[in-house]
Each structure stands twice: as structure tokens, then as C-alpha cells.
Subunit: 442 residues, 2 copies
């Protein structure tokens, strides 16, 4: 009897985040997964990346203090670091699947394809449901040039058995910046190849320039305005070719964006609109087919595709699919490039503040010589703040430093609660910390 | 013409924090200092301690990952660390004094003593003023036992040219815990001697027990129920004697509390009440003598004596002394024991929550196996949360972890803005960070 109230396609953070509450609410629920249970984040995304970055961070923070109280820099032992990473990633899929099973939620392994709006095929099986929720996420995009098949992906990077001596990332988005920082500290010669002059375009340009400087200081080379035209594999090396450009590396990784896993579900047959950017939904996460919803990274949306956003959407649908209610309303969504240093931002962008200077007050604070950063001998700490002139409320921030995520999390809370600079200054935080600097920022 | 509107006695964070705004408001202002300009925090308190702790933290965080991606542990080079510390402390006094002078604020070097309520002697000079603000801070308390003069203080610790092989702290308060963590990681054998069974009594007992376990794992020995009766210095060693107890160390430090610098100002002669705990003020920081105020660590008060509290009081008086207004109203004041790990707390105490279980819901979360901490291989992370049952608002927290100050700063803001657990869960924070765990805490 493969008949369900709700079938969720995709067993990642979004899918799991919805399955349990719907089950608890009394629905008969199934989840379908064709790859690793648990999805991108814990298997081949944020979590393993952060494990690698933990060692990188300890290395960098020690290195900064060598000659200033520490006698030597620890070095990354990549194969050992991989083993440590595997202690996190190896159990994820089995544990995620087993958790669903033991809760009484049905699981199906295999590729899903719609037969009609109430019927799904999963491999040899057929499932019917009142409602489907698509949460199939994204996969690494390809370059679609001759030799593209020689390019590895971020998934491959996170499982590299050894760190090659020389590598390149093709496509200068946040994945390239994060993995480049890891690889450079682990000892590789690293190139980031980008097709125009403006990598990491969703972040404030001045801040990106600073981050590029910092990565260059760690040996990362930026090859800008390079439109890759072909890839060759010769003598265990990868050759990247572009007009007036050729680079030979041990391995090259395609990091030119991610593609929605919406193209193999037979969506067109059931009237669900989707393209490379994802599935089109209304503000109830509902597709054009009223009994079919989508959430997480597979959705076409302007807000960042992040694990906590998936969690937020799953929490929303866990209400919406039990009793229909209000449209989804997103809070401020901060974003970060986890590297060394980190680059993080939230709220109204620096560029918007410059363009609307009648409305916004903008302030740059070079915090490098502030005690918080100087006592750790950090090379750079800087904040670009946006304050609403009329209300004195903090409405946006971009921060670069080794601890930028901490400051931006504080600022996210400040923005969410509508605090003015006056209210920030009236609070007392632990001293000295990033928070005790907040009063000087706006 | 040594006649002023306001004379501030004490050039520390409180005094400097008040002098500038009063001067800007048009007052004729002077500041008196008999020791180092800048006061305790930047010269012999929070700042140098945090510099030492920066290297300790980098060492500990690297050590945790040796065998898990890092090849070796950096070691503390104490003399080199001292030199790095001095780059922060050496310029403080001159710069602090010069800043006042260049702003046009008069400075007096020397010991202050009241002649009458409008007249102060400073060395050979006499100053008169409409109003005085006492901000003389505290100094390390003494033990008052035979041989007390052989005991060094926290000030001495922060300038130790070399780290002795074996040391003891007499008195188990937060200073002892912080310095013990530093000394242990720097390679010393460390004892903390405490007169009863309950060191660090202002923190939740269960949390202190965990911190003691962590310090013991780093080699710190706790000698409890030891009432020190005499000190001897023999053959370059210090011998601490108590009933049924004798300990010989290279150096011993008295860390049994701090004493208000209120006893040498001739306060009795002008009717200002003060004792060992400080100067008595009303809720306008005004003493019994209406034209004499006090702020900062020298004030007798229940709230913690911390640098940001001094700053808060200076900001309050900078308004109050220009136009009389409302009584001072303190926000939530978080406190921290900066060690490895840190222990931090804010708001309603765990003990109060246990005693008033009709009113408060309390929840312990062992976070050690949560990704945030496990990916850094931290030995312990734990949170004790207090939630108001009626409002669902977070009202108190105690946290132990290497990053406890970050989590407690978030929680301070949550408490200050009166957020409920529901409101916390509706926010999106950068993942994975301490903030993205907040939704699981209450």
C-alpha cells in the first residue's frame, strides 16, 4: 500500500526537517532519496568543509602568533584530516535513513520521476500521495566545454586522498574561495580562474578586493577575465585553455555554480515550471500544480540557498501542510564565505547604501588595529556598516576577519530585533570580544 | 587656577570614559592618576591577560587537532609572549595621558586626598572643583598572614619574565582560574589553594565542577579546604603552610579578591561612606556628599565589577552630570572566566531556577557531541539554560566551552531584547556556528 499523505523527494536537511514534524502530526509520510541520505550539507557540503577548515583555522591562528608567543606552526596532514572528516561524513547516510525508519517514516531508495501529479515512480516501485514536496537540492554545474569530464567537483575536493601540488578552481564563487583557502593552507599552489573581473559578485566589491588580497598573501593566484574554452588531460595533469591563456595543474575543479536537481523528475509532464535555477513556487512554496510543493536549494529564489534556509522552509511547510496559513516570510538571511579570513554579510548591501545615500548612512571601520584582532595578530579586520538615517537602526553589514561570522551573527540579531545604535550602546557585552566592539561600529 | 567644574580621580576606563564627554559638553575637567594612566584593564588586567590567552588558545585549539589533521602542537615561548604583551601594555600610560592633554583636559600625576568636599590635594598641589568623581578602582587584596609579603599578585603574573616550574594561586576566584589556565598551558605545575570547597562561588556549581575537571585534565591541582596560615621564603622557593598542609612552589600568587582603592582618599573627613568593598553610592552614583560621585570598580555594588560596566557608568554620568536625569538602570551584565575552556553566564542564575522551578524551566544541553564543538575536537561544551515558563523568554544561561563568550553574548542580546524561544527559532544564523545552535538550547 504505497499510498501516502505526503511524499518528500529528497532526504537532505529540508526533507528530513519536514518529514519528522509531518509524521508527528499524524500524516503517513515517505521520503525518497537516490544518493546519500542526509543530503549535501552533512555529506559533501558545509559540514565536511567546516571540518577541514577547523584544522586550517587552528593552523592560521597559530601561525599568526609564531614569534609572538608560539614557537612553531603546525602543518596540515591532509590524509589524516581526511580520516577525521570521514568520522563525521561516513555515518551520515545510514544514520539519517535509520532515523526515519525507526520513527516509522517510510523510506524509498532510488530515482524519482513523476508519472502524474499523484503518482511517482521510484525505480521499480510506484508511490501515490495526496501531496508531494520536492527537496532534491542542487548538484555542481558543469562547464560544457570540450574536456569538461576531466574536471573534478567540490564533492571530489572534500574527499581528495592527497592534496595535489598544484590545483585550479574554474569559477570564482564562494565555493572556490572557501576551498582555495583550505588548499593553500594545506600547501597547494592554487589558481582561481574567473571569466570576468568580478568574482564573488554577491558580496560588496570593496570587501571582495580585500579578501582577494588576503588569499593572494597565502599564495592564491587569481586569473581573471579568463573564459575557459577547453580542458585536456595529459600525463596525469590537467591543462586549462582559454584565449591567450594556458595553465597546467595536477587537478582542476569546476566551481562555476550549482544546478537545480529539477531536470530529471519529469516535471514538465505534470505542469510544474522549472529551469536551471530551480522550481518556480509561490509564496506558500507551492508549484503551479497545487498539490506539489518545493523547498530548499531546488527552489528558484532570490534569497541565498543555504542549509538554515532549508530548515526554515521545512519548519514553514510543517505548519502549512497541516493547516493552511500565512505566506512564508523570511527573516534576514546572513551569508558567509568561510575561509581564512571569512567574509560575511547581512541585510541592506553596501552598494545599495552608496546608491541611496539620502536614506542610508554608511561607515567603514578598519578594525585591524583594534585590540580584538590585534592581540591575535590578524592581518585584516574590517566592517562596512549600513544604518538607516531616519531610524538610526542598523540595517546592513559586511565584515571581513577571521571571526566575521560571529560579528555578523550579532548583527543579524540586531537587525532582526530592529535595534538602533543607541540601543546597541546601552548593552553590556563580555570584554574583550567582537561583541564589545559593536558600539563603535555604527 | 586649579579650579574645575569636574575633577575625576582615577585615569582608568571609567575616568577616561567620563572625562572626554564632560569636556566636550563644555566643562572644565581634570583627571588625577597616581599609577599608570589607562587603569587596570589595559595595563594589568583584561587586555594583557587576553594577549597571553590568545597564544594559549591557539595552542589548545591546535593541540586538540593533532592526529586529526595537524601534525604537531605549537608550544608557548613565554619570554617572547611577554614581549608581544608589552607591545600592547607599554604604550598605554603615555598614550592615555597624552590623549587627555591633547584634548585640552588637565591631568595631575600623584596621590589624591580630600581636604574638604571641594578641595583635593594631589602631592604638593591643591585642586578645587564643583564636583568630584571617584574612579580609583581596586587593587589586589592581601592575605594578612605572616609572610604575606612573599606573595606575588596578578599584576606580577602578567609580567613574569619566565614561567616558574611550579606555582600556586591562593584564593580560587576568577583571576586564579584564568591565570591557572594560562600557566598550565605554558608548562607550569599549578596549584589553586582555596579556603573552602566552593571556589568561583558566583558561578553555577555544576558548571564550576566541569571547569575544575577540565583544568585538572590540563594538570591544575585544586587544594580545597586549605586555610593558609603562613608563608615562608626559603632557598628561592615559597612555602605555603596551613593546618595539615604544606606546599613548596617557585612562586605563589595571592588571588583572594580585590580591595577598593577607597581607604587613602581621606573620605571619612568629608562624610563619604566606604569600606573594603567600596564606596557607597545611591542610584545616581552619588555619595552621601552630594557633589561627590563614584563609579567603576571602587563602588560598593552587587553587579560585577567589569570594564564594560565602568564604561556604562561613565556614559551614564556623562549625561547625569550635565543635566540631572533618571537613576542608573543596568542592562543584563554577562560575566566570563576566560580560560580554556571559558565559563560564562548571564541573567537568572541556575540556582535560582532550581529553587523557583514553578517559575522557571531549566534545561541542560551537553553540546560536546554537537557538530559545532566536535569538529574542533573540544573536550567539553555544555549549556545550562533558564527559560521563564510563563513568557517562554530566555532569562538566564551558563555556558562552558572554548567559545562560551560568543554564545553568552548572543544570549545577552536575546535576554536584553526579551526574545522568546519561538522568536529565536524564527531567525536564521550562519551555519555551522554557535548561533545556529541557539534554537536547540531552550
Amino acid at each position: 500500500m504505497n499510498q501516502f499523505n505526503t511524499v518528500i523527494i529528497g532526504g537532505g536537511p529540508a526533507g528530513l526537517g519536514l518529514a519528522y514534524p509531518l509524521h508527528s502530526a499524524g500524516q503517513k509520510v515517505a521520503v525518497v532519496e537516490e544518493n546519500k541520505w542526509g543530503g549535501t550539507c552533512p555529506n559533501r557540503g558545509c559540514d565536511p568543509k567546516k571540518v577541514l577548515l577547523g584544522a586550517v583555522e587552528a593552523q592560521v591562528k597559530s601561525d599568526q602568533l609564531v614569534g609572538r608567543g608560539l614557537n612553531q606552526t603546525p602543518q596540515i596532514n591532509w590524509p589524516q584530516l581526511m580520516k577525521f572528516k570521514q568520522t563525521f561524513t561516513d555515518p551520515v547516510s545510514d544514520n539519517s535513513r535509520a532515523g526515519l525508519v525507526s520513527a516509522g517514516i517510510e523510506v524509498f531508495d532510488g530515482h524519482a520521476s513523476f508519472v502524474d501529479e499523484h503518482t511517482l515512480s521510484v525505480g521499480e516501485q510506484t508511490i501515490t500521495a495526496d501531496r508531494f514536496v520536492i527537496a532534491t537540492g542542487q548538484r555542481p554545474g558543469r562547464l560544457n566545454v570540450p574536456g569538461d569530464e576531466y574536471l573534478l567537483t567540490s564533492t571530489d575536493f572534500l574527499s581528495l586522498p592527497t592534496m595535489p601540488a598544484k590545483i585550479a578552481f574554474i569559477g570564482g564563487g564562494y565555493i572556490a574561495f572557501e576551498l582555495a583557502a583550505i588548499a593553500a593552507v594545506a600547501g597547494a599552489e592554487v589558481h582561481i580562474i574567473h571569466h570576468n573581473e568580478r568574482p564573488l559578485k554577491q558580496f560588496a566589491q570593496a570587501a571582495v578586493a580585500e579578501l582577494m588580497n588576503q588569499l593572494e598573501a597565502k599564495g592564491v593566484q587569481f586569473d581573471l577575465n579568463v573564459e575557459t574554452q577547453s580542458i585536456k588531460r595529459e600525463a596525469d595533469q590537467t591543462v586549462i585553455q582559454a584565449p591567450n591563456y594556458e595553465l597546467t595543474v595536477d587537478q582542476a575543479f569546476v566551481t562555476s555554480g550549482r544546478v537545480a536537481n529539477a531536470d530529471t523528475l519529469n516535471l514538465a509532464a505534470i505542469g510544474v515550471e522549472a529551469d536551471r535555477h530551480g522550481i518556480v513556487v509561490n509564496d506558500h512554496l507551492q508549484t503551479a500544480q497545487p498539490n506539489i510543493y518545493a523547498m530548499g536549494d531546488v527552489v528558484a529564489k532570490r534569497i541565498p540557498k543555504l542549509t538554515p534556509v532549508s530548515g526554515f522552509e521545512a519548519a514553514y511547510l510543517s505548519q502549512e501542510l497541516v493547516e493552511s496559513g500565512a505566506a512564508i516570510h523570511y527573516p534576514e538571511i546572513p551569508t558567509v564565505v568561510f575561509g581564512m579570513p571569512r567574509l560575511a554579510q547581512v541585510g541592506i548591501s553596501w552598494q545599495t547604501a552608496q546608491e541611496q545615500s539620502d536614506k542610508y548612512r554608511s561607515q567603514v571601520s578598519d578594525m585591524t588595529n583594534w585590540f580584538t584582532y590585534k592581540h591575535l595578530n590578524e592581518p585584516l579586520a574590517k566592517a562596512w556598516m549600513v544604518v538607516d538615517k531616519q531610524t538610526d537602526q542598523i540595517v546592513g553589514a559586511t565584515v571581513i576577519s577571521n571571526e566575521a561570522e560571529t560579528l555578523v551573527n550579532y548583527l543579524t540579531q540586531i537587525i532582526n530585533t530592529g535595534q538602533t545604535m543607541k540601543q546597541v550602546k546601552e548593552q553590556v557585552f563580555l570584554y574583550p570580544t567582537e561583541a564589545s566592539d559593536l558600539e563603535y561600529l555604527g
